[in-house]
C-alpha cells in the first residue's frame, strides 16, 4: 500500500490540482478566478509530463564520465522537458490574451462578475 | 435481354423543360416570349418522348448513363415500356395544360406568373426524370426535385391558407423523400444493385420476413405520400388552394401519379410479384388501397368545394391503380397501368372544367353551380364525359381500365376487392351526378346572366381532353398503343423477364 502511495502520490496530487482548477473555471463567477483556475489546469498538465518523465536514480542528460553512457536508465528523457518549455510559453501567451480580454470587458462593463455582466448586457 | 441502345434522347427530353427554366426567368418582362418558351419546351419534350415509342414497341431499350453519382450507382435514364408509358402521359398532357395555364393565369390575373411557369417546367422535367429513371437513386433524385418544384406552386396564392398547405405539403413530401432515401440505401446494402428490373431484383436477397416488411413499408410510405394513400393523403386536399392548372396537372397527373408510378416501380420492379407474395406484402398494400378507395369516396360525398371533391376523388382513383398492382394478377396490373393513363385524361378534364368555372364565374362551391350547363355548354359537356368515365360508364376510357381491374380481382380470386371496385363505382356516381344534376336540370340564378364560355385558350384544351377520353375508350390502342404497352408491361413483370413487346409494332 505504502509502495503504491510512494510510487503514485504525485499523480494523486496532480489530479487534485487539475480538478481544483476545473472547479474554479466552472463554478467561480469572477472572470479573474476563472483565469486562475485555467492556469492551474495548465500547470497540472505540465507537471504531469515532468512527473511521468522522472526515473528514480536517473540524472539529466549531461554526459558524466562516471556513469555508463549506454545505459538509458541512468538518464532522464529530455524530450518531455523541452516539450514542456514550449507548453509553458503557450500557457503564458494564453494568459496574456485572456487578460487582454478581461481588460476590454472591464472597460466596457466596469465589472468582472459574470452574473452582473449578463445583466448589463441585456 | 433486349438490346440496350445508348442514346441522348431521354436526357434531352428531361432537359428540355429544365432548360426552359432560365429562359422563362430571363424573359419575365415579356409574357408572350415567356409563354413561347413554355410551349416550345412542352412540344420538344413531347416530340422527343414520342420519337422513342416505335423503338420501344419494337422491343429496343434506350438508355443513357449521365454520370456516376455514388460508387457503383449511376444517374441514368432508361426508356423501358413502363417509363415511356408514364412519360407519354405527362408530356402530352403538359402541352394541353400549358395552353390552358396561359388562359387561366391571364384570365384570373394571377401574380408572379414567371415563378409559376418556371416551377411548372421544373415539375415536368422532374416528372419525366422520374418516369425515365433507370434505378432507384435516380428516381429518388428526381422525386426530391419534384417535391421542391411543387412547393412554389402550392403556395402560389400567398395567403395564410396556402402557406399552411405549403408547409404541410413540404413536411409530407420531405419526410417521404427521406424515408425513400433510407429505403434506397437499405436496398443497396442488401442487394448492391438499384437497377429496376421487371419482376424485381430483391427476390434472392430478402430472407427475413420482418426486414422485408419493414423495407416495403418504408418504400410505400416514401412513395405513398405522393400517391395519396391513407393515412398519408391529407396534404392533397389542402394543396387544392393552388391555382387550378396546378391542381389539374400536378395533383391529377404529374405529382400524384409519380407516387403511383413509384408504387408500380417498387412492387413490380424492385420487389417483384413473387417476393411480394412470399412475404405477404401484397395483402398489406391491397388492404391500404381498398380502405383508401372507400374512405376517400365517402369523404368526397361530403365536400361542397368542387376542387376538394375532385381531390378526394383523385385519392380514391389513385388507390384503384395501387390496388390493381397489389392484386398481382396480369389483368389487375394491366388495369392499373391503363387507369394511370385513363384517370389522367378524365380527371384533368374535370379539373380544367373547375378552373374554367372559377375564372369565368368565380364559383368554387358545388352548391353555386345551378344552371351552369346552359352558360358553359362545352365545358360542362366535357365535365360530363369525365364524370361518366370515372364512374365507369362505357364507352369512356376509364371504363376499360376499371373493367380490367375488376377482371384482375376476379382472376386473383379476391372477390372482396371486386366488391370494393363496384361499391366505389356507385359512390363515384353518388358524388358526381349531383353536380351534373345541378348544372343541367336546375334553373340558374340571376348571377349567371351575361356570362358565356371561358376563353378559347381554356375551352379548346378541355374539349380535347374530353375527346381524348372518348377516343381512348372506344379504341384503347389508339394513338400511342397504351393498351399494347400495358399488356406487355404486365406480362413482363409477372413473368419476371424483359418486355416481350416485339411484334406489337404497327
Amino acid at each position: 500500500m505504502l509502495e503504491i502511495i510512494k510510487g503514485y502520490y504525485a499523480y494523486f496530487f496532480l489530479v487534485a490540482v487539475f480538478c481544483i482548477g476545473l472547479f474554479g473555471m466552472m463554478v467561480k463567477r469572477n472572470l479573474m478566478k476563472k483565469v486562475m483556475g485555467m492556469s492551474m489546469v495548465q500547470s497540472a498538465v505540465i507537471l504531469f509530463w515532468i512527473v511521468s518523465a522522472f526515473k528514480d536514480g536517473a540524472t539529466v542528460t549531461v554526459l558524466d564520465p562516471a556513469r555508463a553512457v549506454e545505459d538509458a536508465d541512468l538518464y532522464l528523457n529530455p524530450l518531455p522537458h523541452t516539450l514542456m518549455l514550449t507548453a509553458i510559453v503557450v500557457a503564458v501567451v494564453t494568459l496574456g490574451v485572456s487578460f487582454a480580454l478581461l481588460i476590454v470587458i472591464y472597460r466596457r462593463y466596469r465589472t468582472l462578475e459574470e452574473p452582473l455582466l449578463l445583466e448589463k448586457m441585456q | 435481354m433486349p438490346v440496350t441502345h445508348e442514346s441522348v434522347i431521354p436526357l434531352l427530353a428531361v432537359l428540355a423543360p429544365l432548360a426552359a427554366i432560365p429562359l422563362i426567368l430571363l424573359s419575365s418582362r415579356r409574357p408572350n416570349l415567356r409563354e413561347f418558351w413554355t410551349l416550345a419546351a412542352a412540344f420538344t419534350a413531347c416530340g422527343l418522348i414520342l420519337s422513342l415509342l416505335p423503338g420501344v414497341l419494337a422491343g429496343r431499350t434506350v438508355a443513357y448513363d449521365i454520370l456516376t453519382i455514388s460508387p457503383g450507382i449511376a444517374l441514368s435514364l432508361r426508356v423501358d415500356p413502363t417509363g415511356l408509358f408514364f412519360a407519354i402521359i405527362c408530356s402530352s398532357l403538359w402541352i394541353l395544360t400549358s395552353f390552358y395555364s396561359i388562359g387561366y393565369v391571364r384570365g384570373a390575373g394571377e401574380k408572379k406568373q414567371t415563378r409559376y411557369f418556371a416551377s411548372f417546367a421544373l415539375c415536368i422535367g422532374a416528372t419525366l426524370g422520374i418516369a425515365l429513371s433507370a434505378n432507384l437513386l435516380s428516381f429518388v433524385i428526381f422525386y426530391e426535385m419534384l417535391s421542391l418544384g411543387t412547393y412554389p406552386l402550392v403556395i402560389h396564392k400567398e395567403t395564410r391558407e396556402s402557406y399552411r398547405s405549403g408547409r404541410m405539403y413540404l413536411t409530407y413530401a420531405l419526410s417521404a423523400g427521406l424515408l425513400l432515401i433510407v429505403a434506397t440505401a437499405w436496398t443497396w446494402a442488401l442487394a448492391h444493385n438499384l437497377d429496376f428490373r421487371p419482376g424485381g431484383f430483391l427476390g434472392g436477397v430478402l430472407a427475413d420476413e420482418g426486414a422485408a416488411r419493414a423495407l416495403f413499408l418504408l418504400f410505400i410510405a416514401g412513395v405513398g405520400v405522393k400517391a395519396g394513400l391513407m393515412p398519408l393523403h391529407s396534404w392533397l386536399p389542402a394543396a387544392m388552394v393552388a391555382p387550378t392548372p396546378v391542381s389539374a396537372l400536378l395533383h391529377a397527373v404529374a405529382v400524384v401519379k409519380s407516387g403511383v408510378f413509384g408504387v408500380i416501380r417498387v412492387a413490380g420492379f424492385v420487389f417483384g410479384p413473387a417476393t411480394m407474395q412470399a412475404f405477404g406484402l401484397d395483402t398489406i398494400l391491397a388492404a391500404v388501397a381498398a380502405v383508401t378507395i372507400i374512405l376517400a369516396s365517402v369523404i368526397a360525398l361530403r365536400q361542397d368545394n368542387l376542387k376538394k371533391r375532385l381531390a378526394f376523388s383523385t385519392i380514391g382513383h389513385l388507390s384503384y391503380i395501387v390496388l390493381g398492382v397489389a392484386l398481382l394478377s396480369p389483368e389487375g396490373f394491366m388495369g392499373g397501368l391503363l387507369h394511370l393513363a385513363n384517370h389522367a385524361t378524365t380527371k384533368i378534364a374535370l379539373f380544367f372544367c373547375a378552373g374554367a368555372i372559377y375564372v369565368n364565374l368565380h364559383k368554387t362551391e358545388i352548391s353555386e353551380l345551378d344552371g351552369i350547363g346552359k352558360v358553359m355548354p362545352w365545358t360542362m359537356a366535357a365535365f360530363t364525359v369525365g364524370v361518366l368515365g370515372l364512374s365507369g360508364v362505357p364507352p369512356i376510357n376509364a371504363f376499360v381500365s376499371k373493367f380490367y381491374l375488376c377482371k384482375g380481382a376476379v382472376s386473383s380470386g379476391q372477390l372482396v376487392f371486386l366488391a370494393v371496385f363496384l361499391a366505389s363505382g356507385l359512390l363515384n356516381m353518388a358524388y358526381f351526378f349531383p353536380i351534373l344534376h345541378r348544372a343541367f336540370f336546375r334553373p340558374g340564378g340571376a348571377g349567371l346572366h351575361g356570362h358565356s364560355e371561358a376563353s378559347p385558350l381554356m375551352v379548346v384544351p378541355i374539349v380535347i381532353v374530353a375527346v381524348l377520353s372518348l377516343v381512348l375508350g372506344l379504341y384503347p390502342n389508339a394513338l400511342v398503343h397504351f393498351f399494347d404497352l400495358a399488356r406487355g408491361i404486365s406480362q413482363s413483370v409477372m413473368a419476371g423477364a424483359a418486355a416481350p413487346l416485339a411484334g406489337l409494332a404497327p
Partner: protein, 81 residues
Amino acid sequence: MSWLIEVFLFVLMVVSALVALRSRDLLAAAVTLSLFSFMAAVIMASLGAIDVAFTEAVVGAGAVGVFNIVAITLTTRESRD
C-alpha cells in the same frame, strides 16, 4: 525520505491553489497563485527538470504574477467569490 519533502511541496501547492480560488481579494489571490507556480517550479527541480523549473519560476511565478497584478490594477481588486 526525500519523497516526504515532495509530498509537503505538493500539499503546499494544493493549499495555495485552494486559497487562491477562495480569496475575495484578487491581489492576494494573485500572490498565492505565484506561490503555487513557485511550488510547481520547486517540484520540477526536484524531479530533475532543472531547465523547466527555471522557466516556470521566471515565467510562471514571475511574469505571470506581474501579468496578474497589472491586470488587477487595470480592472478591479474585488471578487464576490
